[in-house]
């Protein structure tokens, strides 16, 4: 880490999920926007403590699912009735019944793509390089520790004042993480 590096944010460490959650509630109430809680597993109730709304990933899935079903039905209608009708077994060329199983599978397939890639898009992943990954103690975030990081870009960020806030909330090992 060079001396001239620009600061990224202020990191504070917590030992228990409850401490991190109480701290998050306070930080939320202070009106911070660009900050996050880092934990080894999803902490139940943390979304509320951070003031996060419902995740938008569902919309990606919904659009994926609807387009999958439509694609399936239209494809089968086009292939087996419109473009090249094959008479088999006395069955109608197109029936919503026999077209249902493949369309159903496509609904699920594209819905699943929507869920996974929607999650990636919402989370801006993959992102292999990140200032936090260079921070020595941050590796504990995947182990048993809870961290709160307030970014310097946050409009409410006030250097020492913010540090004092984190300290008062029980954060330890408070440090500045550099870009």
């Amino acid at each position: 880490m060079s001396e001239s590096a620009t600061p990224y944010g202020l990191i504070a460490e917590f030992s228990t999920p409850a401490d991190a959650m109480h701290a998050a509630e306070k930080i939320r109430d202070q009106g911070f926007k660009r900050w996050d809680v880092y934990s080894p597993y999803p902490v139940h109730g943390m979304d509320k403590a951070m003031g996060l709304g419902n995740s938008k990933v569902g919309w990606f899935t919904f659009i994926g699912g609807v387009s999958g079903y439509t694609l399936g039905m239209v494809m089968i209608w086009f292939m087996n009735k419109f473009d090249y009708a094959i008479p088999v077994g006395g069955k109608p060329m197109f029936s919503p019944f026999s077209a249902f199983p493949p369309s159903y599978e496509l609904t699920i397939l594209l819905g699943a793509f929507g869920a996974l890639f929607g999650m990636f898009i919402m989370n801006r992943l993959p992102r292999l390089h990140h200032p936090l990954l260079k921070h020595a103690r941050f590796k504990l975030a995947s182990h048993d520790r809870f961290f709160i990081v307030i970014e310097c870009h946050d409009p409410s960020y006030r250097g020492d004042e913010t540090r004092a806030l984190l300290e008062s909330l029980g954060g330890r090992n408070i440090e500045v993480v550099e870009e």
Binding site: S15, P42, H44, L52, M79, N80
Partner: protein, 476 residues
């Protein structure tokens, strides 16, 4: 804590007596850090010797599979025992069997998630891996049975020189969509679950190569709560999508048989019966794999006797449902009064393949009934033996359905007796090599227990629990 609050909101509060106490999901009071150490340690410690022996054996067996496929491709499907009147033999039996095995993984990862069964966390990763590898083994058979394998891509709705499209009224086309979707979605689900755990391995990595590979595949996961929020939503959605998917896959496989008019195949209970059978055989395989695994990898505190006990109960329930379906088939064959149907079922039980029918009945319906007894569920040896019997029984179920329905046609002149050739047998044996090769690689290089998920279900994880740091009285 319980004694301090004998009444809550005016209602009497009784702590359960000792015999009815819930056993903790992670025993020996293990904590967050211990879980990382225990699970990640498996892939960090030097490779145990047994792993090399097992891998050598599996790769050897797998090469048999590829040799058999090469022989089949170069010579033709005549090397199999198929022939008039049994035109569907081991290939379809093995396909249905392997794909059924996969169903337990999805049941654990998706359905039990939706049902808020928190014990799933200890076993879901290994079970999902089993699903993926089993579906790979399953996928081999329909592809190679088409004869001219290089044209297998015609199964997909891609424009080709023939100017013709796949015929979507055929259940075999539905299979193509169901199985390929199943494989893709299972893989996505599995990988998404792996991301936070790969980040654990990345953060613990000592060598540059490990840092690079785990870093690459964990995609820069930080464990930020904003990420977890989207992640959990996506996980829920994938679970919600996988549940109807897993039901549909084996239902569609069952439609291969039941939409036909053949006595013994055409029966309306097939879809739920196949799904129950698939879950049944899948749990058989999960138990077969996990009972030795928990010991070899030192995971007895994570995959506890409670988990084994619960999986035995699922096996018992699905086995009994399968038994109900067998009963209904025979009953309706009698009730319907169709002489062909009646003959088909008589032939199953007392015809030339009577032995396969009775193996099926005893392994699938009778032996699992032992799981009613707690003593049996808590004896690992007995559970393990029954789990293998379940696998055997379910293989014979498919054999019974396929072969006994075909070997006696409507005219005695069309009767025959099907015998597999050595190529049939060795191809099937070879798929075990494929399965175990992948499974061993998985054991060695990936976190075999969902670390983040198990962390989430221990008492320390709950911020409202004293162990999670909550102050008494501060209730949310």
């Amino acid at each position: 804590m319980a004694e301090s609050a004998n009444t809550v909101q005016g209602a009497p509060m009784i702590a359960p007596p000792r015999e009815l106490e819930r056993i903790p999901l992670v025993s020996n009071r293990r904590g967050l850090g211990w879980l990382s150490d225990a699970v990640a340690g498996i892939s960090e410690k030097p490779t145990p010797r047994w792993w090399w022996y097992a891998l050598a054996g599996s790769v050897g067996t797998m090469s048999i599979c590829f040799a058999m496929i090469a022989y089949l491709m170069s010579t033709g499907v005549g090397v199999w025992g198929l022939g008039h009147p049994v035109m569907w033999g081991w290939a379809i039996v093995n396909f249905v069997w392997w794909i059924g095995i996969g169903h337990a993984g999805t049941l654990i990862s998706a359905i039990l998630f939706l049902l808020r069964q928190r014990w799933r966390t200890a076993v879901n990763r290994a079970a999902e891996a089993m699903t993926i590898f089993a579906v790979m083994c399953a996928g081999i058979f329909p592809v190679i049975h088409v004869g001219r394998i290089w044209f297998a891509w015609w199964l997909f709705p891609i424009p080709n020189a023939n100017g013709i499209w796949p015929q979507f009224r055929s259940p075999l086309m539905w299979d193509v969509f169901a199985v390929s979707t199943y494989f893709t979605v299972s893989l996505l689900f599995w990988y998404m679950g792996l991301i936070p755990d790969l980040a654990v391995l990345r953060d613990r990595a000592k060598t540059k190569l490990r840092k690079f590979l785990y870093g690459l595949f964990s995609l820069g996961w930080l464990g930020a709560n904003r990420h977890w929020s989207n992640y959990e939503k996506a996980y829920l959605l994938l679970a919600g999508l996988s549940t109807p998917l897993v039901l549909s896959v084996h239902s569609i496989v069952s439609l291969d048989f039941s939409v036909s008019q053949l006595p013994g195949w055409h029966t309306t209970i097939f879809p739920p019966y196949f799904v129950a059978g698939a879950v049944f055989s899948g749990f058989g395989m999960v138990l077969t794999l996990l009972i030795p695994l928990r010991k070899m990898c030192g995971l007895e505190d994570v995959i506890t006797m409670r988990h084994v006990d619960l999986m035995c109960k699922v096996t018992l329930a699905t086995g009994t449902i399968v038994g109900y379906a067998y009963g209904m088939e025979v009953f309706i064959a009698w009730y319907g009064g169709n002489p062909y149907e009646q003959f088909a079922f008589w032939n199953r039980a007392f015809g030339p393949y009577w032995w396969s029918y009775w193996i099926m009945i005893s392994c699938n319906v009778i032996f699992p009934q032992l799981f009613w007894f707690r003593k049996v569920r808590h004896s690992l040896k007995v559970v393990w033996i029954i789990s293998i019997l379940v696998n055997v029984g379910m293989w014979f179920e498919r054999f019974v359905i396929v072969v006994t329905s075909l070997n006696r046609d409507f005219l005695p002149a069309n009767w025959g007796y099907y015998v597999p050739t050595w190529v049939d047998i060795m191809t099937y044996v070879g798929t075990f090599g494929l399965f175990f090769t992948f499974f061993l690689l998985f054991l060695r290089f990936l976190p075999i227990v969902a670390i983040a998920e198990v962390k989430g279900v221990i008492p320390q994880a709950d911020p409202h629990h004293p162990l999670g740091g909550a102050k008494p009285g501060a209730h949310h």
